[in-house]
Subunit: 61 residues, 6 copies
C-alpha cells in the first residue's frame, strides 16, 4: 500500500521511468507516511494508436 | 470523465480502433451529456495466450 | 472479448448505466463483429474527491 | 497522458488526497515534461478486507 | 510479483474473501515458484447495476 | 463473474500461464460456487523496467 499504475505513451527511455519511480515513491511516502517498501509502481506503455481523446487516436493527431 | 478502457484481442488494425474510438465516444457523450474532449479511451491489446475463459487459454481453443 | 471498463463520476442513476451499457455493447459488436454475449462492461463509480485533473480534485473545482 | 491510478487503504481524509494529487502531478510534469492539464489521477479506496498480502487479508493482520 | 485483481459481485462475506485470498496465493506460489510475500491480491466489489453482459445489467437479469 | 487480472513479470512460458489459469479458475469456482464459464482471467506481462518497488525498478535490482 499504495499501489500505483501509470499509463503513459510508449517510447520513454528507462532513465525517465527510473526517475519517475523514485519521485512518485518519495512523494507518496512523504504524504501518506508510509515506508518506500510499501510502494509498488507499474508503468503501462500505451501506443499512440491505442489512446484516444475526444474520439481521435493520438496517432492521428 | 469518463475514462474508458477496452481490453480486446490483439491483431486488430488501427482502422478498427479508430472507428471504435469514434463510436464509443459518440455514445458516451450522447448518454452522459458530456463533451467529446472529456472522453479518454485506452485500448489494451491482449494476446490469446494471455486470456483464459473457463480455465482454458484462448490460444488453446 | 472485449472487456470494457468505464470510470465515471458517481451519482449516475441506473437508467443512465443501463442505456450506456446497451449503447456501448451495440457499437462494440458492430465495429468488432462480435456477439453481444462476448461483451462485458464494468462501471466504476468515482467520487469527485477521488479524481484529479491538473493536480486539482474535482470536488475542489 | 499520463493517467495515474492510486490504490490505497480507505479512510484517508480528503486533505491527504488533495496534497498527494498535487505532489504526484508536479513530479510527473517535471520528469515527463508535460503540462499539468495532461495529468489525470484516480484514487481507489480499498478496504482492508479487500487487500491481501501473502494470502492474509489486511483486516486480519 | 504477481499482483492479482479480482472483480466480483458485492455482497460476499469476508470469510469467502479470506479463503479465496489464501487459495489464489497458494496456487500462484506453486505454479510461479514465488514466495507468498510476493503475492498481492485486491478484491473489487462490483454492484450488479455496475456490471453488464450482452448489454444487460446484472441487476436487470 | 469473477474477472481476474494477473500482473506478472514477462518471460513466463505459455505452459505456466496455462497451468495458472486452470488452477486459479478451479479455486475461484470452489470458493465462490460459480461455474468455470463464469471465470475470465487476463494476464498482463510486465517488463522489469516497468515495475518498481521501494522506488527502484526491478531491472536495476
Amino acid at each position: 500500500m499504495p499501489s500505483i499504475n501509470v499509463q503513459l505513451f510508449d517510447g520513454r527511455p528507462v532513465e525517465i521511468k527510473r526517475e519517475l519511480a523514485q519521485a512518485l515513491t518519495k512523494e507518496a511516502c512523504r504524504v501518506l507516511g508510509c515506508t518506500p517498501e510499501a510502494v509498488d509502481i507499474v508503468f503501462t506503455d500505451v501506443k499512440r494508436e491505442n489512446w484516444a481523446t475526444a474520439g481521435v487516436l493520438w496517432s492521428d493527431k
